[in-house]
Subunit: 181 residues, 2 copies
DNA sequence: AGCGGCCTGCGACACTTTGTCACATTCTCA
DNA sequence: TGAGAATGTGACAAAGTGTCGCAGGCCGCT
């Protein structure tokens, strides 16, 4: 077991290379040894090689389901702490993720600190360490808007439809400054 | 144990008497012996008296939390199959419910058949359909609110402070039902 | 019991943000 | 090049938000 080593090991699986790189960096800065993969096979292999203590798994990995990976990893190591992290959250998948052994389920965007906090929470732990930096609603909204806008190649009308928001409103929100906090 | 009796026993707890009556009737028609309560104390008492095999619990029972009941009932009988049923569904509460031992989490409206089906399923299923579109802004906000509220153990004032939002506003938002999508 | 502190639900009201409709411009690409 | 989609804005009603205030409830302290 490498849990006796200096740094805690963590497996990160997300099909977006950029997201992986950024988050991995943030986690390394917080003293984790991070291994990243962008598909199920890669994730399983890394898990076999390094037997990590923690894992962060995207729900949607290409055309594969992160739930499969949760199941597979749990079968390999029942002590593994996993959190699902996704931009396509749903109650149904959240329920299954927890049933399959994930310790938590978060929606993007989430800060590295939030993720670590989620990993730390034990199952049914009554004494939660402490809360941390709670993203303000405005900020969260801004991030989401930008992400969806990006996914729609900057098409405001399409983004507004996807967001279930009136185009006029989206335009107005976008015109405002990038909120700080 | 009365599990050897003819009909399977079920505890139904919801603060809406009408809803209780209607659902109880539907369940009885499907051959369940149903006991109903409209608050936590009543639910615990009935559970103690009849030691039911199944339970259907609302998330919001008056000013009380159905999660408390889930916790209490699980402590009384670890074999009890419980489903949460709520019109104020959120990922945060769903995760919590499953961790506390609920077998499933459904959103109102749900048919009697759906509920029974949920009670029957207890293992995680990685084949669950993965999400389609990103969440709407409204939905994202609702989820975020619920998450922060949960992190603050249901303390509305603390959550409002953490969110940088006025308490009055948070109260108003929480009273509304989450939007579908 | 009495007190202070903190939380909660809710009414009221001025102020802001959205939802909509409308219309005159660009794009976009078959 | 032309139809369909996208965009930037103005205007106005509807809905949401920031604030204050107040009464009641729930501790913990003295």
């Amino acid at each position: 077991m490498n849990s006796t080593h200096d740094k805690p090991t963590l497996l990160l699986v997300d099909d977006d290379p950029t997201f992986c790189r950024v988050l991995a960096q943030a986690l390394e800065k917080r003293d984790f040894e991070v291994y990243t993969a962008t598909d199920l096979a890669g994730g399983l292999e890394l898990a076999g090689d390094h037997n990590p203590e923690y894992a962060i798994i995207d729900l949607r990995i290409g055309h594969e389901s992160g739930l499969e990976l949760v199941k597979g990893l749990k079968a390999m190591n029942t002590d593994l702490r996993m959190v699902m992290l996704t931009g396509y959250a749903s109650i149904a998948t959240a329920v299954e993720a927890i049933k399959l052994g994930a310790t938590h389920y978060l929606t993007k965007p989430a800060s590295a600190d939030e993720i670590i906090h989620a990993l730390a929470r034990h199952t049914g732990d009554p004494a939660v360490p402490v809360a941390e930096n709670p993203l303000s609603v405005k900020r969260l909204e801004w991030e989401h808007l930008q992400k969806v806008l990006m996914e729609n190649n900057g098409n405001i009308s399409a983004a507004a439809r996807a967001l279930g928001m009136h185009r006029r409103t989206l335009q107005r929100k976008l015109q405002k400054r990038p909120t700080r906090t």
